[in-house]
């Protein structure tokens, strides 16, 4: 995470410490994205420490081992969701979408359902999770890349058409999944239902490592494209005019988004819903459109969301609810707020 705070030449004239002077200085400091990022980082660190070190029932070492894995999982997922959603917004020139509109979540559920339907829940549970993860990731990435090259790589090159087809296919997958689930044995159905809620507390460590590697590689691949992403916010015509090889850049970014989303969904289940909240909060919090700030802010806000939600869940509701319910409730309210605010303008 970059937390560079560029030292500025000290203000030449010593300002008298009037209340107004202090306030305007504070505003000037607050206006710098680096300061905001650093502050957010500090808050996230506090939350992680709270989660790790408070309310330890027995041995601290044991608790740390269990909770440490959860925290790493939350960070991996938050980075994947935060980065992929912001990049997806820039690619599609739209800020109220998440990559789930391409049917990632629906497709994940379809694959799980098909496996349970064909092999039964015992075989599903007995399958090596690594194998299952690899299958999920490969199928999801293959599907999204197919959709992308079909609708964007050819002559048509329409992002909107691609999104529309994604929505239609997502709906189709959901209905198909539901239809198959109706014919399932109740026991099989219960096993399946468990997979349909994101679970961050007990991830498989091998899978976590694999997902972590993919997410780190994906994030590193975005770094050289940060300035290009900024240009893409100007829209395709202007970006092309400024010398961006639009088709190639969009394809590369889309591939990165697909891999990150597929890997984290296969790790913890459908989780994309909170990308919308995180990305939009990041835009207003970072106070700049530049991706070198919005991307890390989105990732950190994602961590804050997940760790904070988990804290609330474990310590306040005593596991009385599921994390996805907590976040979806907050996310739903936030989405309504976004839509209403847009409408009010």
């Amino acid at each position: 995470m970059r937390t560079e705070s560029t030292p500025r030449p000290a203000d030449a004239a010593p300002v008298a410490p009037t209340a107004r002077g202090i306030r305007s200085r504070a505003a000037a400091v607050w206006a710098r994205p680096g300061i905001r990022l650093a502050l957010l980082g500090a808050v996230v660190a506090v939350f992680i420490a709270l989660y790790l070190f408070t309310a330890v029932p027995g041995s601290l070492a044991f608790a740390l081992k269990i909770r440490g894995v959860s925290v790493v999982a939350m960070i991996v997922v938050a980075v994947a969701v935060g980065v992929s959603t912001v990049v997806f917004h820039t690619i599609t020139q739209n800020r109220i979408l998440t990559p789930s509109i391409m049917g990632f979540d629906a497709f994940y559920m379809l694959i799980s359902t098909v496996i349970v339907f064909m092999l039964g829940s015992t075989a599903f549970l007995r399958t090596d999770p690594v194998v299952l993860w690899v299958v999920q990731v490969v199928v999801m990435v293959a599907f999204s890349v197919f959709l992308f090259t079909w609708l964007f790589g050819g002559k048509r090159r329409s992002i909107h058409l691609m999104l529309l087809v994604g929505i239609v296919l997502g709906t189709f997958f959901r209905s198909f999944t539901e239809w198959m689930q109706r014919m399932l044995d109740p026991l099989d159905f219960q096993v399946l239902t468990d997979t349909s809620f994101a679970s961050l507390t007990r991830p498989d460590e091998t899978l976590l490592l694999l997902t972590g590697i993919l997410v780190v590689l994906g994030s590193l691949a975005v770094v050289p494209l940060l300035n290009t992403l900024d240009v893409l916010t100007l829209g395709e015509p202007v970006a092309v005019g400024l010398g961006v090889n639009h088709k190639r850049v969009i394809m590369a970014l889309f591939a990165i988004v697909s891999v990150m989303v597929a890997a984290s969904t296969a790790l913890v289940g459908p989780i994309l819903f909170f990308g919308l909240i995180v990305a939009n909060l990041a835009y207003s919090y970072a106070g700049t459109f530049r991706h070198r700030w919005t991307l890390p802010v989105a990732a950190l806000l994602g961590v804050l969301c997940l760790v904070g939600g988990q804290l609330l869940l474990e310590r306040v509701f005593a596991f009385g609810a599921s994390l996805s319910i907590v976040i979806e409730f907050a996310g739903g309210l936030f989405f309504l707020y976004l839509v209403l605010r847009k409408g009010a303008r």
Binding site: T233, G235, V238, G243
Partner: protein, 252 residues
């Protein structure tokens, strides 16, 4: 020089550009006129590599726009399209900085900063540097976009209907600026205009298009004739001489 050679573009079965061959870029300001749907914006799209031609080639200083690197082209050719809707909130300074992207790839050098300052000064936008684009009037916005194009520091500048939605005063300001860009900065400007009289006043050469073809291409005086303009727009246009300048009257 921008050379279009036998360029044809079809959408489904409709031909929007029909075997157009033209050389642009020998004189300062060229105005491109013609009725709606004549193919003017399509022509700009082809030169600006947003649209691929079905036949023919477009070259800019010998570089084929379909095969040359987009980054190299952006150093010699700047295109400003009609509607520039931007989703993100940018300040004027941010926008003009983007004009340096072809040269700096986002890492601004001292020389880049000089270009940016000069462009902002040239467009008289110093007071608005820190303003967000959505806080500007139409005329100021248009100037901010032209400043970006200017910061790009290209030999060729293509402006698609820069006078859209502007009032009389701002239209005049933009056209004077276009003229100065050609005279003072030595740029080759091609500008799409709907107002024939602005074209006649500020351009050196007028290219008229209709139904995807170039129907007239000549110095101003030869285009500003009732029979030529009448044929281009398929409507009666009267041309009178006022203070020694031809003025088209099409209000009847």
């Amino acid at each position: 020089m921008i050379v279009l050679d036998g360029v044809t573009k079809r959408y489904n079965r409709q031909t929007v550009l029909d075997d157009v061959s033209i050389i642009l870029g020998e004189e300062g300001v060229t105005a491109l006129i013609g009725p709606n749907g004549a193919g003017k914006s399509t022509l700009f799209g082809l030169v600006g590599r947003l649209i691929a031609a079905d036949a023919g080639t477009v070259t800019v200083d010998g570089m084929d726009v379909r095969t040359a690197s987009s980054g190299d082209l952006a150093k010699i050719l700047a295109v400003l399209r009609q509607d520039n809707h931007i989703a993100a909130r940018l300040t004027v300074q941010d926008l003009v900085e983007f004009g340096r992207f072809p040269h700096s790839k986002g890492r601004l050098t001292v020389a880049d900063r000089e270009h940016i300052d000069r462009a902002i000064a040239y467009l008289d936008l110093e007071a608005f540097r820190g303003r967000f684009l959505d806080q500007l009037s139409g005329g100021q916005r248009q100037r901010a976009f032209i400043a970006m194009v200017l910061a790009q520091d290209t030999k060729y500048v293509l402006l698609d209907e820069p006078l859209n939605n502007l009032d009389v005063r701002h239209m005049g300001e933009i056209m004077k600026l276009v003229r100065r860009m050609a005279d003072e900065l030595g740029k080759v400007v091609v500008v799409v205009l709907h107002d024939i009289n602005f074209a006649a006043t500020y351009a050196d050469r007028i290219v008229a298009m209709r139904d995807g073809r170039v129907v007239a291409d000549a110095p101003v005086a030869e285009i500003m004739r009732p029979e030529v303009l009448g044929a281009v727009y398929e409507t009666p246009v009267d041309v009178r001489e006022i203070d020694g300048r031809p003025v088209a009257l099409y209000y009847s």
